[in-house]
């Protein structure tokens, strides 16, 4: 397998992980709105369903993108595909 194919395979795997996490917090948990509301987990005292819609999922997305960017940079570095700074 060429260097480029390996790079793409790793990139694709990272995409799948990222999208899986994204799916859980953007779609998955909202199948259970009522269960979240009844849950005894109450971040900062808010009902869990309310908290996730107004802060929880949103914050996780922010962190997820930065994590994804960091990982992708590592993959690019590994295969020597990092851009020159002055490009």
């Amino acid at each position: 397998m060429s260097k480029q194919q390996q790079h793409w395979e790793k990139t694709r795997n990272l995409l799948f992980i990222t999208l899986a996490i994204w799916f859980v917090f953007s779609i998955g948990i909202f199948f259970f709105g009522a269960e979240m509301e009844a849950s005894s987990i109450r971040p900062f005292g808010y009902p869990l369903s309310y908290y996730m819609t107004c802060q929880g999922s949103l914050g996780i997305f922010v962190i997820l993108i930065f994590w994804f960017a960091g990982r992708q940079e590592k993959i690019d570095e590994e295969f020597g595909f990092t851009e020159r700074e002055d490009d």
Partner: protein, 606 residues
């Protein structure tokens, strides 16, 4: 004149700007104490900020193609994040969103999740690859990746439909705010708004829009957060409202049942007397009040729409590198997050201010005559954004007898909560900044697609730079005027049009863009089928539901993008597979796009 050195000095320049703006707010506060009228404060706030944006727009004028289309590709990560956040957060986010949460609660908050979750798709599926491609516009990518003028033209069509739907809503919002703040009729205010929008974008294209958007972000975020923190502290609800309003949310639920929310209903005859556009509180504040599918389908549409809207995507063409584009998406979402996580808090504080009889600002439970005598009630009643009526004739204002317009939650809450008027002026300036920045991005996206993809790439490929840029500017003015003319007709509310724009973009562009990077086998015929059939079926479904059709799968006029994008996906795959695979040059191009290093696929100047 500001190149190079200006880029290096960005933190300093915008630091001084922010400081200057804070000083301006303080000066206005002093002027208010000294007796300046509320109207004058509003006029000062709006005209001062708009003048600043116009100056920035003028200073960023350019005669270079790559500066005009992609700001010379030298916008640093964090600043591009701010510009994208302003580009993204429109009048709908700023003015309408807290209102929507106030009235509809949990079901509406699907928009919060959708409008942020979409950025994960932008970062992982598209932005870095399109940046590597080196295109000027979104149709530029489609046209080059798939090859052929038909594909390019189809992309221009989808882009124009989606962005134009969106931009009329934004010009409408600038008009609404300008008419309230400057006290002029809406029909004229729309054109005042348009003039300010064009001032920012015409001379400098993307470069001018970038630097004004950063300035607009700073104004809008201060204007949004300051009242939230102030009200929360004034009410004693918590120093840091985002983490400390749990008791208030619980208190609202308690008051809701005390005031008979959901049990006391208004008769149709009573409701007919309420002015159009105003609503009462009919849904619980924090309770889960919608089915999972309704919530998820709306969120999915907003997410896929986010990843297909060209005015957002083209912001990532302006970063210096692919790596910067990726990180920039993270910063964009961070800056958006600051406002979005505050909107539910504002809705909570606003509702509690009005509802809680133990607070001095509470009006529910007071006598009707007493409420009618309140200054702010009279003002907002006159502006057609507030209404009370003693339906049951007991002389006391009940929860079901109080009606408010969605915009009033953001615009009127500072006044209701007893903050000085200077804050209301600030909020008006913030709303103006939000609507202007988005309108700028959208008008530019349409004009660029038409001037670059239609005029230069298809009609006259030999056109000289000067002529190209003149065409771009003329188109900008024409599109702006067309948008303002339609906005003046007020066909659909701000929020409705915005949601439609997402569905249109998702129907026609989502899969052709994503598969262009992630599926080598996708070819021109498939992409054209995907764009045109997707847009057509989505539009047909919308028309069908609007004209009384029953719909299926619980898909409404707000989520018609699901139909459009599914048709788009299926037709794109089927047509691609039954026609010839793309040639080896195209396949190689896709390979190149997938590697961050090396030259962009399209040249620096094209």
């Amino acid at each position: 004149m500001i190149k190079g050195k200006f880029i290096d000095n960005l933190p300093k320049v915008y630091g001084i700007y922010t400081g200057g703006f804070l000083v301006f707010i303080i000066l206005m506060a002093i002027a208010e104490q000294a007796g300046m009228t509320a109207k004058m404060i509003g006029i000062f706030f709006v005209s001062f900020t708009v003048a600043i944006y116009a100056i920035i727009g003028y200073l960023s004028r350019t005669i270079q193609v790559d500066a005009y289309y992609v700001a010379g590709r030298q916008v640093p990560t964090v600043f591009n994040g701010m510009a994208t956040a302003a580009d993204w957060m429109s009048g709908a986010s700023f003015v309408a969103m807290a209102g929507g949460i106030y009235f509809k609660g949990y079901g509406y908050m699907a928009l919060l999740v959708g409008w942020t979750g979409g950025y994960v798709l932008v970062a992982s599926l598209l932005a870095p690859y399109l940046r590597k491609f080196g295109c000027y516009t979104v149709p530029d990518f489609i046209g080059t990746r798939y090859g052929g003028n038909v594909a390019r033209l189809s992309a221009v069509l989808v882009l124009t439909v989606a962005s134009f739907t969106y931009v009329t809503a934004q010009i409408n919002a600038t008009g609404t705010i300008a008419s309230v703040a400057l006290d002029i009729p809406f029909g004229i205010a729309v054109y005042v708004g348009l003039a300010s929008i064009l001032l920012c974008s015409m001379l400098g294209g993307m470069r001018a829009v970038t630097w004004t958007q950063v300035a607009q972000y700073i104004v809008l975020i201060i204007a949004y957060l300051l009242p939230v923190f102030w009200i929360s502290n004034k009410m004693g609800a918590g120093v840091f409202p985002h983490l400390m309003l749990a008791d208030e949310v619980a208190r609202i639920a308690e008051l809701e049942s005390q005031f008979g929310l959901g049990t006391v209903k208004n008769s149709a005859a009573d409701l007919a007397t309420v002015p159009k556009g105003l609503a009462g509180i009919t849904k619980a504040h924090s309770e889960v009040n919608t089915t999972p599918w309704k919530f998820i389908s709306l969120a999915v549409c907003m997410m896929a729409g986010t990843a297909s809207l060209p005015h957002v995507m083209m912001r990532y063409f302006t970063t210096p590198s692919v790596k910067a584009a990726r990180r920039s998406v993270g910063w964009s979402l961070f800056f958006i997050f600051l406002l979005y996580c505050s909107a539910p808090m504002l809705a909570t504080l606003s509702k509690l201010s009005l509802m809680d009889p133990t607070l001095p600002t509470g009006i529910i439970g007071k006598s009707i005559a007493e409420v009618q005598a309140i200054d702010w009630y009279q003002n907002w009643n006159q502006a057609n954004l507030m209404f009370i009526s003693d339906f049951n004739g007991n002389g006391t204002l009940e929860l079901n007898e109080f009606f408010m317009g969605g915009k009033a939650v953001v615009l009127a809450t500072p006044e209701i909560a007893g903050l000085p008027y200077v804050i209301s002026g600030l909020v008006a300036a913030g709303g103006m900044a939000a609507a202007m920045s988005t309108a700028d991005g959208l008008v530019l996206a349409i004009a660029n697609a038409l001037s670059h993809d239609l005029y230069y790439k298809i009609i006259d490929p030999k056109a000289e730079t000067a002529k190209r840029l003149i065409v771009a500017r003329v188109l900008l003015v024409i599109i702006g005027f067309a948008g303002a003319t339609i906005a003046a007709l007020e066909i659909q509310g701000i929020l409705g049009s915005v949601i439609w724009a997402f569905d249109f973009a998702m129907s026609g562009l989502f899969f052709p863009l994503v598969l262009g990077v992630w599926w080598k086998r996708a070819n021109a015929q498939g992409a054209v089928a995907g764009m045109l059939l997707g847009l057509a079926s989505g539009t047909a479904y919308l028309v069908w539901v609007r004209t009384g059709g029953a719909g299926f799968w619980g898909i409404t006029q707000l989520t018609f993008g699901i139909v459009g994008s599914l048709v788009s996906l299926v037709s794109m795959i089927v047509v691609s597979l039954i026609t010839k695979a793309p040639d080896s040059a195209t396949q190689k191009m896709v390979d190149e796009v997938r590697v961050p290093s090396g030259k962009t696929v399209l040249g620096k100047q094209h």
